[in-house]
């Protein structure tokens, strides 16, 4: 199986889907001539031409609204946000139109559209450019929210998102684009709404998604040296949540730690805790622990930026807490 970078896997998914379906087009800032701010659309303008690879002005609300309209009449737009921080401008189109058209029209209209771009901290970009905003969108019925961690999932889920009949928001990551991994060639479609046990274990379930997945795997390796067997469950899709996978794992291990890059209050992890406490109460051996970004705006200074985010030592400490091994 070829090894690709996360950005190359996305590029492959886009190219394959555009070849498969002439209704698919890509729009966004710098996606054409510049080959993408993060080179996800490298070479696509040459391949598909400017009618399908469209350079947009710096006007997120405008090109998002235009694409929502295009989706209503039969096209399948992929809207690239340079980062999700800038997509806040387009929130009205996403939340009030894309998410609600099917409902407001009594099923007469549909909105098969993908919004995608990097989320989370990039590295020394300070507070306006370092936000993990997926929890905001996971709040809305009518939207699907995905956040794959690996190149293979990135390809398979983008293909599934483009084929979905409803709006899908895909959270990538500036620090994920260069990560390499094996990616199946050709028709590799990962169903939305399905979590994935990336590492099996018996003592504790670490639940996560997107970039935090790598810290969790690192923590699991370290814990294994101490004889603690951690299961890493990659949610991949944040709406709808894969309740079945969450409950099956927690029922096996009796303990859970949820790792989330974003802030804790009203985070996705809070909803995961709610599922666990209400449906697996009798299987819990300890209160569920969460490791989240600190409840502050992101600092510019590298040391403070690192301190603000979850990392392996913080995850290890939380695992030991649910295992009652503090200070052990």
């Amino acid at each position: 199986m070829p090894e690709l970078m996360y950005r190359e896997a996305l590029n492959q998914a886009l190219a394959e889907e555009m070849e498969r379906d002439a209704n698919v087009y890509l729009i966004g800032e710098e996606v054409g001539r510049y080959n993408g701010a993060f080179k996800v659309s490298q070479g696509l303008l040459d391949k598909f031409g400017s009618a399908r690879i469209i350079d947009a002005p710096i006007a997120e609300l405008g090109f998002t609204g235009l694409s929502v309209g295009a989706a209503m009449v039969g096209l399948r737009p992929v809207v690239e946000m340079m980062t999700w921080n800038f997509a806040i401008l387009a929130m009205d189109q996403i939340v009030n139109n894309a998410a609600k058209l099917r409902h407001m029209s009594g099923g007469q209209l549909r909105c098969p559209i993908v919004f995608r771009g990097p989320g989370g901290a990039g590295g020394r970009l300070s507070s306006q450019h370092s936000q993990a905003l997926e929890a905001n969108y996971a709040h809305f019925p009518g939207l699907k929210v995905i956040a794959p961690a690996t190149p293979a999932d990135a390809k398979g889920m983008l293909k599934a998102a483009i084929r979905d009949e409803n709006p899908v928001l895909m959270f990538e990551g500036e620090r994920l684009y260069a990560i390499k991994g094996e990616v199946p060639e050709g028709e590799h479609v990962v169903p939305l709404g399905k979590a994935d046990v990336k590492r099996e274990g018996s003592d504790v379930t670490i639940i996560t998604w997107s970039r935090m997945y790598y810290f969790c795997m690192q923590a699991a390796e370290e814990l294994a040296k101490e004889g603690i067997s951690a299961e890493v469950l990659d949610l991949r899709t944040l709406r709808p949540l894969d309740e079945e996978a969450i409950l099956a794992s927690v029922r096996k291990t009796n303990r859970a730690v949820i790792v989330e890059e974003g802030w804790g209050l009203a985070g996705v992890g809070a909803s995961v805790v709610d599922i666990i406490q209400s449906k697996a109460f009798d299987d819990l051996d300890a209160p569920v622990e969460r490791v989240t970004g600190l409840d502050v705006n992101m600092s510019y200074a590298a040391n403070l930026e690192n301190a603000t985010q979850p990392d392996a030592p913080k995850i290890i400490a939380a695992v030991k807490k649910v295992l009652y091994r503090e200070g052990a």
Binding site: N254, L284, D285, Y324
Partner: protein, 520 residues
Amino acid sequence: MAIPIQMPSLSPTMTEGKIIKWLKKQGDKVSSGEAVAEVETDKSNLEIEAYDDGYLLQVLVGEGEMAKVGAPIAYIGAKGEKVGAGKQAAPAAAPPEQKPQPAPAASVPSGGGDNRIAIQMPSLSPTMTEGKIVKWLKKQGDKVSSGEAVAEVETDKSNLEIEAYDNGTLAEIVVGENQMAKVGAPIAYLTAKGAKAAPAAPAAKPKAPAAPAPEKPAAAKPAAAPAQAGGRRVRASPVAKKIARDKGLDLTQVSGSGPSGRVVKRDIEEALARGPAAAPAVKKAPAAQPAPGVRPEPTVLPLTSMRKVIAQRMTEVKPGVPHFYLTIEVDMEAASKVREEAKAMDLKVSVNDLIVKAVAMAVRRYPKINVSLQGDKVVQFHSVDVGIAVALEEGLITPILRDADQKGLQAIASGVRELAERARKRALKPEEYTGGSITVSNLGMYGIDQFVAVINPPQASILAVGAVSEKAVVRDGQLAVRKMMTATLSCDHRVIDGAIGAEFLRELRGLLEHPTRLLF
């Protein structure tokens, strides 16, 4: 004429009973059929009913005290009647050695010739020898009516209130707050209603029984610790509670290693691995912290009524019934699958439930095992009633699941759970633990591989079941890893011969190894 209420025989093995609580007070009106007291037998707690109408004239056996079967525990008669005459007329049925004991909690005249009545330190628990007055709820000179609480006392188990048994005025407090008094010692005196309160004269009254402080705190502590745990809420994680409930483990006997002593999964696993005997020791260890250089004295506790009966029965049964033992190994792969399938359907069926079902069906097919030697006769049963040994904090009991061969797995599972739960609450009715064809005793959850059990007469056999664990076995000339279980049948050789037991076990093994046969 005063008529005695006698301690009734409430179970086939009962020789004496303990009064847990009087439901009527002296002076109360009582009608025939009405419950007057709650009594603890060797098996369960039951109510005693009055057989006559009248007034409860005198309580002879106080709460927490024992009385032999047939012994009078109280007198009933006409209102205001004196007991004296009636006492002598106690029916001949009462054992001759019985003596109406004065209830320690009752008030007795102080003997000083005046109308002062002593309030004594009552015995409030079977292990209580003395009690500490925590607080006086009445002051000297206060009016007191019968049934009213006068003081709060701390026993070895808990804090309880002492009630007055007479109306009057609290004339004198002999034992002050935070002072100890031996059971039966006067702690205060009442002046009867209408009489003038005697001036408080502490020096005139004997104070001897009042001990200033506990003398041996080190020795007293270990006894108190587990008892306290019984009363308070046990902190435990949900999954720890679930496992404890499934395995019949008493959470109060497990020491918690989590925050604030929370019992967590690993504590339960460790307790189960150690086995039942070790579990209470876990609790005691942290409590017994003698001063350096002082060896802790062993605690001497009186036998509980259940323990006493177990001790007596086991000494009789083991030499009295000639046991022989047959052991089989059973491949439990298929039975484990049945359990998993039940689990997938959200049905709670344990391995033990499967065994109970298989035992019942094997008994049905081999009725020669379904017998009992009673005197010089052999009784052949026609129903299959299976006993299930349930471990309790102070001993064990074997509730009987009736017609187990007729029941489906789910009915067996819920029936066993329900019986075990009530057994633990000591709420079984006598007919629920007497008789039976055979008993299943399972120590598998404690990790026991194999053991032999003592027959529980009038039953003639008992099946001792060990843990299901993976073992290397030979299958078709090849080594294979299979889930195996060892079971040992103890038989009463007077009525069951080796071949009968062996045939029964062959059938049992067949049923467990091919559980679809349980359907037919």
